[in-house]
Subunit: 224 residues, 2 copies
């Protein structure tokens, strides 16, 4: 009885340990790179006496990383849901509004994380690592808000599936890597922490404008 | 005398060993990720009996990686030099021609590398790793052809330095990561090897079109 309860609901202590490991891993990976951080270093830096704490709570490094990705994807989803609901209700889906719904939730999530944050640089590494790439790319595309947004995609038929896949990849990597760059600039002091929120919003505006321009050119969409 | 000659000109055997280590490292990093490849694994996979062969030839992992980056940057530079010379001679620098000079040399280099290649996925990891990021980003921007191209940048005054830096980052990461994606698709068989050259040229065209659209929107440049 005791055992099955413990399995169904992790103890507060276990939840705290998991949280601490996830935060520590994200920070160490962002600052030093996936290649320079062992799971033992993460357990130690998280103050776990058990050097196998990562294995105990997450089994493998990849599962630890996937848990971090899932938590952020859920937070971004929460920002996007009301935006998509408003777009659905409006009945009028312009390219710019659709792109805003894709990009702005990432910006809002970064503002919410505060400074310094580590998620941006962590994610940028996850999406290029062979064993994580597929999972990291899918994490945010599988969220409910993203699925609903896909159904609203303005140019209804995609005449060229290869081009369409490349177009989506361009949007995805622009948001992932540009956010990582600004996060890095904030962490290194190249951008002042006092300007953080303003800088995130400016980046958001630039990304929306850039992706609108790119979309119009690439998909030969003309908008009023 | 013997010693100083050996230092000035590496023996053919030493050059072959260096080449083998660089090729092996690039392949292993591309296929398994920086985090999952040790320098000892590289020495072994390169058939070096000395397990410290990487340290002997390159001192550190980072210097090995920088040597690989430098070799590719030089090859891309060779493709770009005649294109920049033609652009300089023409006296008429349109945005599209300038962007073509930035992007096409990367595409030509990938076509020259053949299939499978590893450079694209290797570079994508290098530009997001904290200890390598700066060097990897600068490697191609420091080449002579890139410097000459910067002087031809069509909108002569950049009114907004932050926007200008973000704009350049967008171009850079689009070319780096989109090339890595196509290379990955070719390696996994998602794109047929027989279509490799055509796929690279199509990606090149899409990138030029996308970056032109992005430039026009972001910098409010209008072109005839």
């Amino acid at each position: 009885m005791q055992v099955s309860t413990a399995v169904a609901t992790p103890s507060p202590r276990s939840t705290r340990a998991r949280d601490k490991l996830m935060h520590t891993a994200e920070r160490l990976y962002a600052e030093h790179g996936f290649a320079n951080v062992s799971i033992r270093m993460i357990s130690e830096a998280a103050g776990q006496r058990n050097k196998s704490a990562v294995q105990y709570h997450f089994s493998t490094r990849d599962e630890l990383i996937q848990a971090i990705l899932a938590r952020h994807a859920a937070a971004i989803d929460e920002h996007r849901i009301p935006m998509v609901a408003a777009l659905e209700a409006s009945g009028e889906v312009s390219l710019r509004r659709w792109i805003t719904c894709i990009l702005t939730p990432h910006i809002e999530h970064h503002i919410e994380l505060g400074t310094p944050s580590w998620y941006g640089r962590f994610l940028a590494q996850a999406v290029v690592e062979p064993s994580l790439r597929e999972h990291a790319t899918q994490a945010s595309m599988r969220t409910p808000s993203f699925q609903r947004l896909e159904k609203l995609w303005p140019p209804r038929q995609d005449r060229d599936p290869d081009l369409s896949a490349q177009y989506r990849a361009m949007i995805r990597l622009l948001v992932v890597h540009m956010c990582a760059e600004l996060e890095g600039d904030l962490a290194s002091g190249l951008v002042a922490v006092a300007d953080a929120e303003q800088s995130w919003r400016r980046l958001g505006e630039h990304l929306i404008t850039a992706v609108c321009g790119l979309s119009t050119a690439l998909l030969e969409i003309s908008e009023p």
